[in-house]
Symmetry: C2
Subunit: 444 residues, 2 copies
């Protein structure tokens, strides 16, 4: 049954097929080992339709507007790009607030943002139900019967958390003797001769340094709900005013993620939300989902990113394709230059934001759907954290979660309100949220 589902997706979304393959596997694995809370919504009748989602107007790059977010001062929101719809607000946090957040995060303790799940990966690869010929066809995006380096690079998931560069793909070819003529291009013949088990063995045997990962940082989560530190509450209220979304949406969103990048830290370019398939459920609403579905993603309508300190060197946030006329994955990823690589090619990205203590940037990860709700993921929202060349970089992320299914978001809000009422001071929603964000996948 999964094979059928898979093959449909394979043909619909060639570029993401491997991601999906691995994803399905992991989801299965997780479900069998930990079924999770299969809570079903049994609220009092159908949830009401939610009003249109607020979305700030970009007007044009460089446009500034004055807003009152706090009692004692004005703020200015400046449009940085339209694709993605991206803004900057200097002084969104005071220096004291920045220092406090760092302090709270240090007290709670930070963990590595990414480790390599080697065994799970091998398992996943071992159970892949796609023939080697089909795999070749899927990878060969330009259908020229040859695999260029960029076509392999585009399948980021192949690296299983290790970031792939043109050089280490060629090293791998050389180690498993996949490319005898050494031109970096695999013909169908060369690919057919390759034993995928050699590939898996090589990947497993190669211990990646943290600088070789997709994400090289430490992070923790800080609670912002009722009863949290008054500064954490104040920041949530400020974000509420900024985004002009409903209190329900903002209050039921993820906790604040605080991230530390040491010298040499980075985060290669990525999007904060997964693609929207009919079968996808959101991490934040999965507790009330009626069906058991294989695809789960974090549905982050907006990202609000705070710079908590001034970085001595590097650490810019890069949006490689911001405001490009067209989005074309294959011109983003060339055989020699991969614009997503934030250790090497930040200088070639379209837009870079330099970290400045207290400044917030925020953007929309989804396009509108034209009916006042969430539409498709915005490919242009691709962004990353450039290499920190000197000093330490501290940031925090406030993600605003909205389910692309308006009805499910409504049901979720209704259910959470009911739980809060029932639980009284016991604060059931908080517990539910903790359950939802326990999963490591959400944190990536």
């Amino acid at each position: 049954a999964y094979f059928l589902v898979l093959m449909v997706f394979v043909h619909l979304y060639l570029g993401n097929v491997l991601a999906l393959l691995l994803f399905v596997h992991y989801s299965n694995g997780d479900e069998s080992s930990d079924p999770g809370p299969q809570h079903r919504a049994q609220g009092p009748g159908p949830a009401p339709t939610l009003g249109p989602l607020a979305r700030l107007e970009g007007i044009k790059v460089g446009h500034e507007r004055k807003v009152q977010l706090v009692a004692d001062r004005d703020h200015f929101i400046r449009t940085l790009s339209l694709k993605p719809l991206l803004f900057e607000i200097p002084g969104f946090l005071s220096d004291e607030e920045c220092r406090l957040i760092i302090h709270l995060a240090q007290m709670k303790g930070l963990q590595r943002s990414q480790i390599l799940p080697t065994e799970e990966y091998e398992e996943a690869m071992g159970t892949m139900q796609v023939s080697q010929l089909d795999l070749f066809r899927l990878l060969d995006q330009n259908h020229d019967g040859r695999l260029q380096l960029r076509e392999v690079l585009a399948q980021t998931r192949l690296g299983n958390g290790r970031w792939m560069t043109p050089e280490n793909i060629q090293e791998m070819y050389s180690a498993i003797k996949a490319d005898p003529d050494g031109d970096g291009v695999l013909s169908l013949q060369e690919f057919s001769k390759m034993d995928l088990r050699d590939f898996h063995k090589y990947m497993k045997g190669h211990k990646a340094a943290s600088s070789e990962l997709v994400r090289n940082s430490h992070h923790t989560w800080l609670y912002q709900g009722e009863g949290a530190h008054h500064v954490m509450r104040a920041i949530r209220q400020r974000v509420l005013r900024l985004t002009r979304l409903s209190p329900e949406i903002v209050e039921l969103s993820e906790p604040l993620q605080v991230v530390r990048y040491g010298e040499g830290g980075h985060y290669h370019a990525h999007v904060d939300s997964g693609p929207v398939y009919p079968e996808t459920i959101c991490s934040h609403t999965k507790l009330i989902a009626n069906e058991s579905v294989p695809f789960e993603t974090s549905c982050r309508y907006m990202t609000v990113l705070f710079y908590l300190n001034n970085v001595t060197g590097g650490g810019e946030t890069v949006f490689p394709v911001a405001d490009n006329r067209t989005y074309d994955e294959m011109s983003l990823i060339q055989d020699d230059v991969d614009l997503r690589d934030t250790r090497r090619h930040c200088d070639k990205g379209n837009l870079r934001v330099k970290p400045r203590q207290g400044t917030a940037v925020f953007w929309y990860n989804y396009l509108p759907d034209g009916q006042g709700w969430v539409g498709d993921v915005d490919d242009y929202s691709l962004h990353g954290g450039c290499l920190v060349t000197s000093g330490t970089k501290w940031i925090a992320n406030n993600w605003i979660n909205v389910d692309p299914s308006r009805a499910r978001q409504a049901l979720f809000q209704q259910e959470m309100a009911r739980l809060a009422q029932e639980g009284g001071t016991d604060s059931q929603p908080e517990w539910a949220l903790d359950r939802a964000y326990r999963d490591a996948r959400v944190e990536l």
Copy 2:
């Protein structure tokens, strides 16, 4: 006094200085020879604030939405670009409606869209109150102390209706011996030696062919107000549904302009609305303007363009810079290639729409202001009609007029409603509109 006003603008808007110089002159000339109806609004108290202006969401290029504009069929609106916000609707008009519009236009009779106002031009040039050194500084946009061809080309108004190409500027240099070394670049020394009277004489002496004009077409206006042909009324109602603007705005907009481009016809790239200065008044609301101001422009919030026939060859509508990452006039106009030139360089523009009978395209000439009203002119709305290489091209334009001053638009609507009520069946507003659109400038 005008000199002072001018110099302020000169320094604020270098690129448009000559346009302004000529414009002020013409406005003065017009006012002295024909004061026009100096009607003052004396309505019953202040006009109410108007609600937010509707603006369709672009979502992303290629996005399609279904709309019901007429009883018997659906239409699909497709997003062509976000900058400008531009859409296409196949089958907006039926083939019979297209034929009827052409027939009505032919019965009314079409006039040349542009003639050269040679004498007025000479007068304007003769009274220019800018020294030759200042003029050089104004033209020298990149401040390198030399006038490149593209810097002269950028001052379209210098040609006074004649379209300037790199070749005919060099011809002119050669005729008046302005560029002895013939490199197409004028040093300050070469420019200082030049006698501007020779330039004026040359421009006056050179009789331009219609193919050398900015616009080479014939057009007429068809009334769409109450009492008009039922098809004309139906089209106005359809445009009202399409734009989702208020009936007052749509009904008080310009009549339908029908344009015929013969073989060899063209319209070089331009924007449909003038820049918004505090001193600018709109042609459509000038009847109620309290002050006498020197700058007048047609305030066309939207352009709805209908293709009335299938063109045998050429005649595309080109948007040279649609969805460009940045707008830069000087990369639009190069020394050898001027992307605004629709006789030569349509193939290099970012976006071309092929004429197809019944299809409508529409776009917004202004950015939003962030408060639900009209903001700045959208530079990206630059567009033109490509050379008709074979056959005849018929189009029609429905411009939707909105005053960038929300208060003045409100006052205008209130005043027109009052006039309509007073006039009864005498239909005062119609007369007023006819007065407003008599002026030839509006038609360009």
